[in-house]
């Protein structure tokens, strides 16, 4: 990338440049962009300015939210057709899962993230396989990194202990939300990711209710490709 840009030659097809078509296209495109902007070459001052701008992470206008973010989160999650259960302690999760699944008539067989391995699933009569899923499990159990009050969204970060498929492939997704980690807006979620993780994981999946489509006659149908149901267990 540090090689000086050469103007495209006529008959370039036969020239050795054919070996690096990607770089040729890159140089030509950036050249045309600069020409359109009235620049002659790379602009170190503009680069410094852009990096400085990025470093400020400017936040735009945001709708005002009430002090009670939890309440707002609950309202918005309900609007997006996530169902919600509130628990005092983490140990209550298995029984809450059993209760929910019995209520909707889904077999109590889940694929879950490793962090839930220590919970007393057997007592609650729920079978939880601690492994990634390929879609064979009726239920997927994940935690979330944080939740967003403004939109009723849960933010899921991918990782070795957090396979993404668990929230996508099963018909029912149960997500455990730490009640102390409900932030106001998406911007706050990004600030929190930077603070706690430093950089973005491979995937940040923000889920706001079950998968849906309106592509046939604009009639909303749930469960387009992903889960038909998203159930949130807010702990604490």
């Amino acid at each position: 990338m540090s090689a000086p840009a050469r103007p495209p030659e006529r008959g370039a097809k036969q020239s050795p440049e054919r070996a690096q078509p990607a770089n040729r296209a890159r140089d030509n495109i950036l050249g045309r962009v600069r020409q359109a902007l009235g620049k002659t070459g790379p602009d170190p001052t503009a680069r410094e300015a852009a990096l400085a701008h990025i470093a400020t992470h400017p936040i735009g206008p945001r709708p005002a939210l009430p002090a009670d973010l939890r309440q707002r989160f609950l309202e918005n999650a309900a609007k997006l057709e996530s169902s919600v259960d509130q628990l005092a302690r983490r140990e209550e999760i298995p029984r809450a899962v059993a209760r929910y699944l019995t209520g909707i008539g889904v077999p109590p067989r889940a694929s879950g993230w490793p962090e839930f391995a220590d919970l007393p699933w057997g007592e609650a009569g729920v079978e939880v396989a601690i492994r990634p899923t390929q879609g064979q499990d009726p239920v997927g159990l994940t935690s979330v990194f944080c939740a967003i009050a403004e939109t009723g969204t849960v933010v899921v970060l991918a990782g070795p202990e957090a396979p993404t498929g668990t929230l996508l492939l099963p018909d029912t997704h149960i997500a455990v939300v730490d009640g102390s980690r409900i932030v106001a807006s998406m911007e706050d979620a990004f600030v929190l990711i930077r603070k706690e993780r430093g950089s973005l994981p491979r995937a940040v999946n923000m889920v706001s209710g079950p998968s849906r489509t309106g592509d046939i006659e604009q009639t909303i149908v749930l469960g387009a490709h992903g889960p038909f149901r998203v159930h949130l267990l807010i702990v604490g």
């Binding site: 296209a25 890159r26 495109i29 950036l30 045309r32 962009v33 600069r34 020409q35 359109a36 902007l37 620049k39 790379p42 602009d43 503009a46 680069r47 852009a50 701008h53 990025i54 992470h57 400017p58 936040i59 735009g60 206008p61 709708p63 005002a64 990634p132 390929q134 879609g135 403004e150 991918a158 070795p160 396979p163 993404t164 498929g165 996508l168 807006s185 998406m186 911007e187 990004f190 950089s199 994981p201 491979r202 995937a203 940040v204 999946n205 923000m206 706001s208 209710g209 998968s211 849906r212 489509t213 592509d215 046939i216 006659e217 604009q218 009639t219 149908v221 387009a224 490709h225 992903g226």
Partner: protein, 470 residues
Amino acid sequence: MQIATMYFKDRAQVKLNDELLQYNLKKSKGKFVGKRAEAIRELDDFEGTRTAAREIRQRVLDNLDTYLEIFEQNATARGATVLWAETPEEANRHVLDIAAKHQLKKAIKSKSMVSEESALDHAIEQAGLKVVETDLGEYILQINDYEPPSHIIAPALHKSKEEVSALFAKVHGTPPKTGIQELCGEARAVLREHYLTGDLGISGANFLIAETGSVMLVTNEGNATLCTTLPKVHVVITGIEKIVPTLEEASTLLRLLTRSATGQSITNYVDILTGIKGAGEYHGAEHMYFILVDSGRTRVLASEVREALRCIRCGACLNHCPVYQNIGGHSYGWVYPGPIGSVITPMFIGQEMAVDLPNASTLCGACGVVCPVRIPLPELLRKHREAQVKEDLRPWVERLGLKGWTWLALHPGLYGLATRIGVRLMKMMGGYEGRIHKLPLVGGWSDGRDLPAPTGKTFRELYAAKRRSA
């Protein structure tokens, strides 16, 4: 995509007489417009947010080379490969090279307008590979012999459930379904199989994030999430203008995008994908590619309509356009319909290929008022009209008419005389009913409506007479 922009008038006429399409358009109009109006009320400062969004997008365009390089650097640092394509053909070639390199057999694709520009699906199929569109609307169109989409965000907007039912029965070989729920269920089952067997995930990009080298994808169905989670290779194909500096700025744009598009406060899935999968990760792509496509965008950047590159493809200008509302997206004849399409299409395929598009607007201004990034669409349509005059693309009758009118209007004495005669003639033509049923030269008017006749004298002569008698 095959270009049919030169047949705009004929196509529009067909669509005006297509009763089913008219019914579907009417139904969707109310939903899109009404839901957006409701959703923007949730923002305390909608107009301020629009201004902020314009600035975010404009900052990138004003420094596009810089932000592209920053993006490239950060994406590369996370193990992604950034490729560049000057033309649609080059973009397709990149995809096929990637498929060959990793020995990929089946592509699963979430919606990408840029790939419509390059007819990527055809290129993949010609190379002997399989490709499956996974957005339900796009899938419906694909299995109907690649019918072109009629709307940026609701591609199969023009189809009724009966049409979809017949299509599914034919293609899937299943008994016809009657309910929309059942139809969606059938598509779900068919597509699930493809998700699990696809080895190449192709997506577009709602935004590219410069600071992190990520792509942000916005869907309700979750199909983009699946396409970028399961296959071993993920290719992002998108335009060079899609960059946003930071995640925070993308958040501002997202507030406007989903509200302007479908009247939602957020879509069900928003995915931010950064680089290849890490050690110990089960899901996620082992190889990630970005194909950054020019194919006309630098031409837009260098032109008088450069502000059109701020577009975030929400479709609000279509939904609010009274012309689009009556003729639908197919009439426009290329990838991007409606006001934004009429601004960018001539830059992509050539002004002379799309002469009708910038003129097919009343300049009513509805598009400019709803645009979340404040693109002055009516002004940009006017810029194209000016270019057409400069490039001699207007018919001589029109040019002569305008020049004649201007000359007359610059000579008030003659103007007064000509209009006195003119209005008397027209009054005669109007007869006792006071309206003209057929007009010479401007039949376009009188084919569809009468012209109320003038009352017989001009204001200037009546006013002069009044002054004299006073």
